[in-house]
Symmetry: C2
């Protein structure tokens, strides 16, 4: 059982069913704009129909003005690592990661769903990226684009990709090639 500090918000969108794999999405920083909250809510609520799903936002580190970027990333990293269980398969959303198509992501997820029982944790970092300790714990890195997207917007973009991936696995008509 993980020890979750009480100030961290966790929304469990579907309960764990037996040994069924769970997908966790962790973001650094509160979603502070209403339009982003609404967009995120839309896709997270759709996802729960497909997979046990958990979304966590790590609160922004306070009083960062006197800290180096590396200190900010280290503090965020401690919070991130506390949310990861030993057997979790950790995938960082990172500009140095592998780019894949939406169908490629769906296949990748399906392969893990079929072959492994470990939970998959996707992590979206803060504006400065990840601390080396988080890189050290990661199993894979995924890049959404060569472009840099707003780290707040990335959570909505990626939630939509996860939803899209499940519609692709189920052969539903949401995705057009």
């Amino acid at each position: 059982m993980l020890q979750i500090p009480s100030h961290i918000t966790i929304f469990v969108y579907a309960s764990d069913e037996g040994k069924r794999m769970k997908i966790k999405l962790i973001s650094v920083g509160k979603t502070d704009r209403e339009w982003l909250k609404d967009g995120l809510q839309l896709y997270l609520s759709r996802l729960k129909h497909y997979v046990p799903f958990e979304y966590t936002e790590i609160p922004d580190i306070r009083n960062t003005s006197s800290m180096s970027r590396d200190t900010v990333k280290a503090r965020e990293g401690e919070q991130i690592l506390r949310l990861i269980a030993p057997g979790d398969h950790v995938i960082l959303l990172d500009e140095h990661g592998k780019e894949m198509t939406s169908v490629g992501l769906a296949k990748r997820l399906e392969d893990r769903l079929v072959s492994f029982s470990s939970d998959i944790v996707f992590i979206i970092g803060g504006p400065y990226g990840f601390h080396e300790a988080v890189y050290g714990r990661s199993n894979e890195m995924l890049s959404l684009s060569k472009m840099t997207f707003s780290h707040q917007m990335v959570r909505v973009i990626f939630a939509e990709q996860l939803y899209r991936a499940f519609t692709i696995m189920k052969g539903e008509p949401y995705h057009h090639e």
Copy 2:
């Protein structure tokens, strides 16, 4: 002077100043969700501080259930082409386009701003993509990602990229490498 049908909404976010280049963004289909409208509005209102900017949404084609995808794309294409002036430099957002970094996009835009007086038109297609007539009129194609994003969400993602590009050109602290 272009003939714009009265049912097409055009928001001019800044008036043309002399011969200064204008950027136009054309999207196929109305933005129908409030959170997407709010997100788009945020970045379009920021963009007007940097460049004369015009955003146009082409209404969805009606009664498409009896039409082939190609017919839908042809109808959308007619509407798109009516909005393009002869000298415009046309860039399609298309999965077959070139991927570039945010800094790469900023440099590309800056080069054109410095060297050319023609307007730049970015076009985001509908869910089935572009008709061949639109491909025929295009000068460049740009891809945001190997992944397929919701075509409604692409307009917000790309508006943020355009805003980001101008902050990069001006050396403002919005973008972190």
